[in-house]
Amino acid sequence: MLIVDKYILPPSPEHFLILKYILILMLMIHLPFVSMLIGGTFFSVVFNILDKKKQNRIYLNFANDLIDTVAVNRSVGFILGVVPMLVVTLIYTQILYTVNVSAVNFLIYSLILLLLGFTSLYFYKYTFHLREAVFGVHIFSGILGIIFFLAAYFIFSISFSLLLDPGEWRFVKNPVELISYWNAVSKYLYFIVSSLAITGGGILFFFFHWSERKIDHDSEYSGFIKNFGLILALIFTLLQPVLCLWNLATLPEIAISQEVFGFSAIALFLSLVISYMLCAMLKNPEKKLGVHIFSLFLLTFLITALNDQTTFYNTIKEHIVLMAVRAEGLSSELKIRELTGAAEEAQVNVKKGEMVFNSICSACHSFDRRAVGPPFKMVLPKYQNKEDELKTFVRNPSKKNPGYPSMPKLGLKEDEIASVAAYLLQRLQTESQKQDISK
């Protein structure tokens, strides 16, 4: 991570917010696409093989249409498949600036696997017309693609669930350790199930409502597809909420907040509506609900993405605060530079001293009043032109005055100590001068 750190600035709170929504957007466009991709490819390969066995035209057509539908073409695949993933990875590296967690490296692995997946997938797609000639290679490439995809998203989901449990960050070094990690498993299964569900929905949508691919309705082929899509969608929509709850139950304490339950409730409701529509369509195939169903599926994905991001942001609450402080620190350093004409950061200077004084010392000390600590004009004079003594005291305070609580050891940097000491003594002079004038 260190290399990355050099090039990334610590993000500020608003920065974090923006990132959050970009993330959601990215996942929003990415996940449905790849889900269908996985589901579609899977069934395409399955029917492809079935056809080889049973010599059934319908199967072959379906296999072919399916792969065409889901993997539209290389550019689309790249834009919807690879780019968002890349962005997501970058954003995480950005957010988790200075955090020692291997999840980000995992994301990079999964990105690589994803690329491999796509290549073999398109190989499968474009060898379809040569199917008879090179069947083995053709099918193999398809299967390989699926395997790559599954692997990629396994790593993706477990690294995400790892991000939700800072307790484990120190210990987990490679993805395999997380296989027994319940949250990871449930997340992954949740992903698979939803992808199969949306595949079903996709079939209903693209084959019956998509302008490019109108097929005559009363043909045997369409009936087959419709039923297949419906049943597929129904089964996995019914499974979806179970896994959603399981995932919820296995979430680490810190990740959970009221909203999380809200989102799950909505997701639950959506699946209820979807499954109802599916049932309705099963009862009379004339109904045309493909559009609704598919859009509802997309909505479910959005909700899930929102949910995941909320949990993630719950987890890194403290981290965000720290980042903010860090950002402030940088900006203040910049300010100092401006004020003190491009001086080195670590240089002693009164301006900085004043800032330190105002932010820290002033809480307990003031110049002429007794606060928690004694007034400076009482204690400072004994440090007159003994700056080092003053520094040593600030560095590591000792109880001097029985009338006051002992001063805590403050986590100040050397240069801060120096500057504050300088500032104080200088201030002392000015104050005393003022008094002389007033007399």
């Binding site: 307790g167 210990f171 709850l245 339950f261 409730a265 109802y276 609450k317 805590p408 403050l410």
Partner: protein
Amino acid sequence: MKKHIIPIILLGYFGLLFLLLIGLETYWYLYEKPQSQPIAFSHQIHVLKMTLPCDLCHMYATKSISAGIPSVSKCMDCHRAIATDKPEIKKILKYWQNRKPIPWVRIHSLPDFVYFSHKRHLKMGIDCSECHGDVKAMATIRKVRSLKMGWCITCHKSRSAPTDCLTCHK
């Protein structure tokens, strides 16, 4: 009846799941949700802003099994003078005047059959944040580690600390 069978089944199924969801929420609400403290004490202000060290208040951490929480008089030491106008600070004053200790809600608690020594862990050079998270950044204290046995064991193993049951169980 026959035509309503499907919606009924669906509703039943989802109703069940919904009940489960509510159950989970209740569990979380009762046992895991960080509860409101009698005084809205902020570590963020004291540690992050004022850069006070942990052992200023938790003074026994290096000496004893329990880290110790500051006595009310300790709070008063500073808050006789600082921010005395703030409502939360006024609360401290009230407790102090009524000679009542502040009933903080315990966030990091271990079952009574567990022996845990702050001293031992700090002497092994383990940072507070390993178990308590970035407390300095917390506006309200919360539990960021499960503090469950599995977690303890992972860490003990990774540092090759003893894992005999008796190390922690009493």
